[in-house]
């Protein structure tokens, strides 16, 4: 059983990711992080909107802590996407008002949330049966490092930082497709897309897609295929040409920008 539906979902997404919509450029919401505005490519908000648009309708999606959580607010309600939160909630939607704020209604990031009609609460064993049993279509996780093999590291920097894997190892093993959504570089400016991860792995060979503020990438086993680039970003911006190749998708980065600008 080689997780056949992973390809199906990834295929569908590939199509969507190929045609960045006009909105990707037109989004004018202020970025949630002040520093992000200075960087090339999508703002945090535009990035979250871009990811939200790429999720196939009626998917069950688990959104990781941090950047991926922001995707929720850009989902089209008509797409009927169910957000799974591993603390025991399926059907997260929006935020509460002061009147409806409840300490027992939180997401896995321990943030207050609201639920949509059709939502359900359950215990942790059932929650992880959804993940480990292959019932969750897509997991979108944050990352510290991803490599060309599709391996992900996002839970520990030995001797310096210990986050713990939480549900991430279960998600990358059990969800039918795994996307990593993160900044392209770490705080020191070093690329987080590498030939080989150096940090302890969350999972080996599990990542189908990576999206950063610079564009969409696919680990091929030998390099990263550049699927599309954010408006204004060129191929030389994303990193070592030996590691990032456009392959069959398009010839040069300007074409990606043109596509994004098309009405």
């Amino acid at each position: 059983m080689a997780r056949p539906s992973a390809t199906a979902l990834a295929g569908e997404t590939l199509t969507l990711a190929h045609t960045p919509s006009r909105e990707a450029v037109a989004v004018t919401r202020p970025p949630s992080s002040g520093t992000q505005a200075l960087l090339r490519g999508w703002s945090d908000a535009a990035l979250a909107a871009e990811v939200a648009r790429a999720i196939p309708p009626r998917s069950v999606v688990n959104l990781g802590i941090g950047l991926p959580t922001q995707v929720a607010q850009y989902l089209d309600p008509a797409a009927s996407i169910m957000i799974h939160s591993e603390n025991g909630l399926l059907g997260v939607e929006g935020r509460p008002t002061e009147a409806t704020l409840s300490p027992t209604r939180i997401n896995a990031g321990k943030e207050s949330v609201d639920v949509r009609p059709g939502a359900a609460y359950f215990d942790s064993a059932l929650s992880f049966a959804m993940i480990r049993g292959g019932h969750v279509n897509l997991a979108i996780l944050g990352g510290m490092q991803v490599d060309v093999q599709g391996s992900l590291a996002n839970w520990s920097v030995p001797g310096r930082k210990l986050t713990g894997m939480g549900g991430a190892m279960d998600l990358v093993t059990g969800a039918r497709a795994v996307w990593v959504m993160m900044r392209h570089a770490d705080r020191s400016g070093a690329s987080k897309l590498l030939e080989r991860c150096t940090l302890p792995l969350t999972g080996a060979g599990v990542v189908a897609r990576i999206i950063t503020e610079l564009g969409w990438f696919r680990p091929t086993g030998t390099h990263f295929e550049v699927i599309s680039l954010a408006p204004g970003v060129t191929l030389s911006d994303v990193g070592d040409p030996a590691l990032f190749r456009t392959d069959r998708v398009f010839e040069n980065a300007s074409r990606a920008t043109q596509r994004a600008d098309e009405p």
């Binding site: 209604r105 064993a125 992880f128 480990r132 210990l162 279960d170 792995l201 080996a204």
Partner: protein
Amino acid sequence: MAVEHEAAEAPGGSRGQPVEGHGAPSGSGPFLKVFEGAAQALADLHSGAVVMSGGFGLCGIPECSIAELLRRGVRDLTLISNNIGNRGKGLAQLLKSGQVRHAICSYVGGNPDLEAQFFAGELTLELVPQGTFAERIRAGGAGIRAFYTPTGVGTVAAEGKEVRAFDRPCLLETGLRADFALVKAQRGDAYGNLWFKESARNFSPLMATAATVTIAEVEELVPLGALPAEDIHCPGIFVQRIYQGSHYENAIEYPILRSP
């Protein structure tokens, strides 16, 4: 909902046989499970005990039982809980007071006390992927000694574990049990049936099955029959002691409201 005040009686098993035998404290009510408060319910929780505690971050934590552990000062505890507290609260108080020797959990983020004590070598830590953590507790409570799962293959979580290939390589993971499980529910009755509010359920019903003695605290102790039988999240067979807590803080780590 009405509270069954008559259930609260003098502690120490003054009537009937102790539920557990061996001098374990006994409560009141038709099933001898109802205790006056945390002090009576946790009277025999000793230093060196292995203790499970429900809760995800601070959501659904047994606040009164944790406060009692802090007050009693029992030491060398092994704590099994998803986060071991968060932001200095919940079980993190027992870290700060130096009462924890070993912790089994899945997530450290948001718990600077745990991260610092681990790096300082003040406690030992076993990190378990959250789904494996839940399943190990479920298995422990269901009499399943071990199971195979692909989660963690190719990572440090696989170190020292048997790997066996089914459709893909899998790790052998063992069931987890504890001496005591401390859980909190919104409502419970004298048999120990529990009903949890919203996402506060998390690990609590699983932990209740996996401990020798499960101690439940509830915000509302309701009369037998008040909880619809088809809506019970944790049947009372898994709960040995129950008491009504008070002064719940019910903190939210990150209260985020809808933009106007």
